[in-house]
Symmetry: C2
């Protein structure tokens, strides 16, 4: 049986490695994603939110990953085409090897500023 | 010996409980704090950054706390006087019971918007 952290890292390694479809394989059909822009439900809504970010990724670095039977918490640095310093933190609930909830925290401010200029 | 998570939670419980001076007791004189606004060095710089946020806190809820011998990673919800939904994530390095580095992620956008209006 894979642990929650293993599932989360398989997901993380996939989307940061450029394979968003593989990342989605670890996401439950019932996923609920709590983002700075609001709450999203289902993999397609998740794809619409996270896909463009993943596609714009230039590099990433996992800073820490911890968890227990049903939760995983990670923090990472990310460089995107729009924003050079775009770190994130994600708390996942994992059931039966699938991510059922995601709470993601990142700073929208540099993205707003970059789009404005 | 206290674990990294125990030190981090003692710090978290102090500042979210309104006792910022007690929170500072868990912070190293050499602390380096990586924030969305830049890197801060030393407890006084940390106080200048985190103190006003702590003072404006209306409620908070720890969502997860994990760690190992030298790291602790937490995520929390926070409600402040300025912003109702202000969650944060913090990665701490802990040495000899003191927090020596903090990387904090939160969304500055709602704070910018609240100050503008």
């Amino acid at each position: 049986m894979t642990t929650a952290v293993e599932t989360t890292l398989a997901h993380f390694n996939a989307w940061t490695g450029g394979d968003f479809e593989e990342a989605l394989r670890h996401v439950s059909p019932d996923v609920v994603c709590d983002t700075p822009n609001g709450t999203l439900t289902g993999p397609e809504a998740y794809r619409g939110f996270m896909g463009p970010f993943a596609a714009s990724l230039r590099s990433s670095k996992l800073l820490a990953a911890f968890g227990d039977d049903h939760q995983a918490l990670i923090m990472y640095d990310a460089e995107t085409a729009l924003v050079a310093d775009a770190p994130g933190a994600e708390l996942h609930t994992v059931r039966d090897g699938l991510i059922t909830s995601i709470k993601i925290i990142f700073d929208r401010q540099p993205f707003v500023e970059a789009r404005r200029s």
